[in-house]
Amino acid sequence: MQSTDSKMKRLVGPTIATLVPVIAFALAIHVYSNELLLTYMAIYVALAQGVNIMYGFTGYLPFGYFGFFGIGAYVSGLVMLDYNFPPVVAVVIGGLGGALVGAILLPLFRLRGAYFAIGTLAASEAIYTIVANPSLQSITNGPYGLNLANYYSSGMAYGSAIGLVAISIIAVSYVRGSRFGLTLKAIRDDPYSASMAGVNVPRQRFYAWLISAAIAGMAGSIFGWATSVFYPQAVFDSSLSVLAIVFALFGGIGSVWGPTIGAILLYSVYNAIGISNPQYFQLIYGVVIVLLVLFAPRGLLGFWNFIAQTLRSKRKKND
């Protein structure tokens, strides 16, 4: 029975990592009444975790992550408006839309490192230019955005956002603990040895990419639904991927807790000063990025792991 025992033990960490933020978000609404703001915060947690799956486990930085977000917002918004789908179903379809675009962009994986990052950025900007193009006004309403005010429902959107937080954290924990996650790490650290050892490198990476894209698609869908009226530049905003990447880096990439904590902390800072003085917030996170790269490439969790490791080695001595 030891194997089930250790399996149980292995489930404890991810369960706590999922439940704590979910319960915290569920309770927060009773303390802090700005529901839209909490919805956005939950969306950013999910986005930071989506970046985490991609960059943390494969080393490919999705600079154009906002493309999936925007596609999700548009796909779900259009199926609501044109086919009258219930919003929650539309959110799932938005996620599928994100994954579909991810599949279309698969050739970008021929690029490595920084070129991949810029390739995805260019692809997402291209998608934005197409969606927002006045020539496509009959389909996407071009530069004038979508109006989903008829589908607005207080509570439902927030509930979905919390659900998405849970999904994204479960996805990260699964990836991290599974054989799949181990192969991804092997790929990140040494793709040649990994493929020599029989790992199907492109396929594993592709799965991570699809999961990551689907999360962004759903995040965008919920964003559009909760915001109810949006313009294309609001959902195809490169600062969305920027913030998600900064939050994930700040918390600690490759961990389950890091991006959650990073997103909640920095998004709170953003709300405290970012709305009234966006330049000061931009200055702060710019400086944070520079300092992180130069001095702490492993983020907040890097420090935490350092402490935890010293504690663990002490405990082992005591045993």
Binding site: G59, L61, P107, L108, R110, L111, R112, G113, A114, Y115, A117, I118, G119, L121, A122, A123, E125, A126, T129, I130, N133, P134, S135, S238, V242, I245, L249, Q279, Y280, Q282, L283, Y285, G286, V287, V288, I289, V290, L292, V293, L294, P297
Partner: protein, 292 residues
């Protein structure tokens, strides 16, 4: 008529775009640093031109010369601070991307604090010339004057790189910095200098960007960076001459799109960069050595 207009205009603008992107390729040159703050350096060049004209009534043509020494020194100092740390890391190219992205945010934030968010533009009368008439079409003065300023700048840069002794050292460091150091070249100082020259070329382009882009604003940086990146990838990373040709071809493509399908013209740089990366990653003039 329209076709000729697009071609001639494309060449004039293309020379400007060559100047706009060559600095990014130069910064990439020695240490494989991807300068995501390139567009922000261009933006700063634009503000320099604006301040110099509005406060001291200095012509943009002279401002182009004034910004050079300042940016060379700034670039050199920045390089000496960051290069050693990047070199120590496991993935310098990727980290340089994130680092310069952070720097770009800092520059953007500081500029909007100092200059405000409103776009600033310079009157065309600050370059005291008339539109150029050619083949029965008139081209705005800023198009051909900026091309006329860019040509000697690019020529001086190429002469420096391929005909001077310092340029020889630069090329030695680019091809192999360890071997160059063995031969007695101070590789760090040389790459720092070359990095600074990349900044200076960007700032010079920025002075003229105020006219070509119709103004300068703190948020213009990232879009310019992507365009410049598209051009240098198209013309081969690390090859400045490739960038010049690619800039002119880009200018012609862009003008053709502007004339015939204006609402889709913004797609040109993105399609260009993706198509190049996927079909010929080494670019127009690259040897097949670098897998992008």
């Amino acid at each position: 008529m329209l076709f000729e207009y697009a071609i001639v205009g494309g060449i004039l603008l293309g020379i400007f775009y060559a100047l706009l992107s060559v600095g990014l390729n130069v910064v990439f040159g020695a240490q494989k640093i991807i300068n995501l703050a390139h567009g922000d350096i261009i933006m700063l060049g634009g503000y320099a031109a604006w301040e110099l004209y509005q406060t001291y009534n200095i012509s943009p043509i002279i401002s182009t010369v004034i910004v050079v020494p300042i940016t060379v020194v700034l670039g050199y100092l920045l390089n000496r601070v960051i290069a050693p740390r990047l070199a120590k890391s496991s993935d310098p190219e990727m980290l340089s991307l994130i680092l310069f992205f952070g720097l770009s945010e800092v520059i953007e934030a500081l500029s909007s604090l100092v200059f405000g968010n409103a776009e600033r533009s310079l009157p065309v009368t600050s370059i005291p010339t008339a539109p150029l008439k050619l083949f029965g079409q008139a081209y705005p003065a800023d198009w051909w004057v900026s091309a006329l300023v860019a040509i000697p700048l690019l020529a001086i840069f190429l002469l420096f790189l391929y005909r001077s002794s310092v340029g020889l050292q630069v090329r030695a460091v680019i091809s192999d910095s360890v071997e160059a150091a063995v031969a007695g070249i101070n590789a760090r100082r040389i790459s720092g200098l070359y990095f600074g020259i990349g900044f200076a070329l960007a700032a010079c382009a920025g002075v003229w960007g105020v006219f070509i882009f119709g103004g300068v604003s703190p948020t213009e940086g990232p879009a310019i960076t992507v365009t410049a990146f598209a051009i240098i990838v198209f013309g081969s990373l690390g090859n400045p001459i490739g960038t010049l040709v690619a800039g002119i071809i880009f200018g012609i493509f862009y003008q053709l799109a502007q004339v015939y399908v204006p609402s889709w013209s913004n797609l040109v740089p993105y399609v260009l960069v993706i198509a190049t990366m996927l079909t010929r990653p080494q670019g127009l003039f690259g040897r097949k050595q670098r897998i992008a």
